[in-house]
C-alpha cells in the first residue's frame, strides 16, 4: 500500500475508530459510511472500547513480503464486544490461543516498508493483561 493509503486508515488502525449508525444504533467497523444492518447513511465516528473474544484463528508460518520478519504469527477473527468481527494479528501470546479467549486491542508495528520506507502501525489484539472485574 502507498504512504497515502496507509495515512487515510490511521484513525481506524491506531484507535479502532469506526462508525455508529444514527438510525439503528449499530456499531460499524471498518467505517464504510453506510450501515450494514439497516442500509441507511452512517457517518458518526465511534471509537471501539477495544475488547472482544477470539472467534477463530490460524497460524501463518511463511508470512508475505513485509511480514516475513514477524513470522510465524497468528491471525484471528476477533468478535468485538460491540458486535463487529474483525481480522487482526494476535500478539504477546504465550502458547496457543483458544477460541473464546478474551483479548484487548494494542497498537503495534504492522509492517515495515523495507529498510528505508515507512513503518506502518495499527491494531493487534493480545490476551488480557489484567483479569476483568
Amino acid at each position: 500500500m502507498s504512504v497515502s493509503q496507509n495515512w487515510r486508515l490511521e484513525r481506524q488502525r491506531y484507535r479502532l475508530q469506526g462508525e455508529e449508525c444514527p438510525h439503528c444504533g449499530a456499531k460499524i467497523f471498518p467505517p464504510r459510511d453506510a450501515c450494514p444492518e439497516c442500509a441507511k447513511p452512517a457517518q458518526e465516528p465511534y471509537t471501539f472500547v477495544g475488547k472482544g473474544e477470539i472467534y477463530s484463528y490460524t497460524t501463518v508460518i511463511d508470512g508475505p513480503l513485509g511480514f516475513e520478519y514477524q513470522s510465524p504469527y497468528v491471525v484471528a477473527l476477533v468478535k468485538l464486544d460491540e458486535g463487529p468481527i474483525i481480522t487482526t494479528q494476535l500478539t504477546d501470546l504465550e502458547g496457543e490461543p483458544e477460541i473464546g479467549m478474551r483479548v484487548e486491542m494494542v497498537t503495534r508495528k504492522l509492517r515495515t516498508d523495507g529498510d528505508e520506507g515507512v513503518i506502518v502501525y495499527g491494531y493487534k489484539f493480545r490476551p488480557l493483561l489484567l483479569p476483568e472485574a
Binding site: E10, T91, K109, K124
Partner: protein, 360 residues
C-alpha cells in the same frame, strides 16, 4: 571538577502556577533476557552480571508502540478529554525514525491532535525527565491545560560490551496538569547540565560508545548528587523528609551509592529500584521507578526523583502525593503488573528480536 560546575547553586525551578501529575502510566515489554545468558555467550559463563535480567521488546514493538500504551495508561488515570493536551513530547535515544517524530504518531493514537505541540527529545537517559520539565513549564505558564511528557527506550547494547547486560526496554508517560486535579503535585525541580562526554552514539552508528570508568564519578555521581542536593537545599529539605527516592538506574549499584551519598536509606529507594528485574530502560529508567512508587504511595508522601543522562545532566524533581492518587491508580495496569508478565528468552531469540541477525 570542571570550572564551570563550581558555580553556586541557584534557587529551585517553580512554575508561576502550581502543577502536578494528573495521570501516569508505565510500560515494560514481556520478554526477559537473563544476564547469565549474555555471560554464557561472551564470558563462558564466568563473569557476573550487574542485573539479574533485562527486558526486551517483541518484534512488533518500538518506542512509538510502547509510548502509546504508557500514554493510554496515563489517560486512564486522568479525567480529561485528550484533545485538551496541548503538547506531546517523547524523550528517547531509540526513536524508530531518524527524521519523523515519534510524538505525532503517539498524539494521533491517543486523540491529542491537531491543536498540540509535538516533538521528540534526545538527551541519552535524561530525555524523559527533560520532556516532563518542558511539560511542567508549558502547563505552569498557562500556555496549556495539559501536556504529556514521555520517557521510553528500546536501548541497544553492543554485543559482548559491558552495557549489553543492562540495555533494556520500557518507560513511562506523565500527563502534567493543574495541581488541583493532580495525583501528585510538583513541589519544585532543579536541572543541572555540563558538557561531559561519558557516553555517546554518532549519527549512523548502531551501537553507542562509552568512556568506561569515566561514566561514574565525573558523570553519573557528580550530576545526580549536584542536582539532588541543590533541590533539597533549595526546599530546605533533608533526605529524611522524603518517604521515597528514585535515581537513574543504569544498574543496581550506582543508584544505591548515589542514594547513600545524598543521605537516603536502602528502604527509601527499594520500591523504585527496578533495574535488577528489568535492566536499564534509559530515558524511562528514573520515570518508571517513579510510577512504581506512585503505585504504592500514600497521600502526603514526598518523593524525590533524580534522572541522569550522559552528555551529561540530571533533572531533580520533588513531588508530593495527593488524596486523588489512591482513588485513581487502579484504573490502569500497575508497574508491577508489567514486570510480573514475564517470558524468558535465550540469546538466540534475543539476537533475532533485537535485529542482530543479518538476513541480507
Amino acid at each position: 571538577m570542571t570550572p564551570q560546575t563550581d558555580q553556586p547553586a541557584l534557587p529551585p525551578m517553580k512554575p508561576d502556577r502550581e502543577v502536578g501529575i494528573v495521570g501516569y502510566g508505565a510500560y515494560v515489554p514481556r520478554y526477559r533476557l537473563p544476564g547469565a545468558e549474555i555471560s554464557r555467550i561472551w564470558k563462558d559463563g564466568m563473569g557476573g552480571s550487574p542485573v539479574a535480567e533485562k527486558s526486551l521488546p517483541g518484534l512488533d514493538e518500538d518506542v512509538v508502540t510502547m509510548s502509546i500504551e504508557a500514554a493510554r495508561n496515563a489517560l486512564a488515570r486522568a479525567d480529561i478529554d485528550p484533545s485538551q493536551i496541548r503538547a506531546v513530547w517523547v524523550g528517547s535515544e531509540s526513536h524508530p525514525y531518524a527524521v519523523k517524530p515519534s510524538s505525532t504518531i503517539v498524539a494521533e493514537a491517543i486523540g491529542a491532535v491537531p491543536a498540540t505541540l509535538a516533538a521528540d527529545m534526545e538527551f541519552a537517559c535524561k530525555a524523559g525527565s527533560e520532556a516532563m520539565q518542558a511539560a511542567i513549564g508549558m502547563v505552569g505558564s498557562g500556555m496549556a491545560p495539559y501536556a504529556l511528557g514521555i520517557g521510553m527506550d528500546t536501548a541497544q547494547g553492543r554485543p559482548g560490551d559491558a552495557l549489553e547486560y543492562t540495555a533494556a526496554a520500557g518507560g513511562a508517560a506523565y500527563l502534567i496538569g493543574p495541581a488541583g486535579e493532580s495525583l501528585a503535585v510538583i513541589e519544585a525541580t532543579y536541572s543541572f547540565v555540563t558538557d561531559t562526554p561519558d557516553f555517546w552514539r554518532r549519527a549512523q552508528a548502531i551501537y553507542p560508545s562509552h568512556g568506561e570508568r569515566f561514566t561514574g564519578e565525573p558523570a553519573y555521581f557528580h550530576h545526580i548528587t549536584s542536582a539532588g542536593k541543590a533541590l533539597m537545599d533549595g526546599l530546605g529539605a533533608k533526605a529524611a523528609d522524603f518517604d521515597y527516592a528514585v535515581f537513574h538506574q543504569p544498574n543496581v549499584k550506582f543508584p544505591q551509592r548515589a542514594a547513600k551519598m545524598l543521605g537516603f536509606t536502602g528502604e527509601q529507594i527499594e520500591v523504585g529500584l527496578l533495574s535488577n528485574r528489568i535492566g536499564n530502560t534509559y530515558a524511562g529508567a528514573a520515570l518508571i521507578g517513579l510510577t512504581a512508587i506512585l503505585d504504592q504511595a500514600k497521600p502526603g508522601d514526598r518523593i524525590l526523583m533524580v534522572s541522569f543522562g550522559s552528555g551529561a545532566g540530571s533533572d531533580a524533581m520533588a513531588v508530593r502525593a495527593t488524596d486523588l492518587l489512591a482513588e485513581r491508580r487502579d484504573r490502569a495496569p500497575k508497574t508491577e503488573d508489567y514486570i510480573a508478565r514475564r517470558t524468558e528468552v535465550d540469546y538466540a531469540v534475543y539476537a533475532r528480536y533485537r535485529g542482530k541477525l543479518r538476513t541480507k
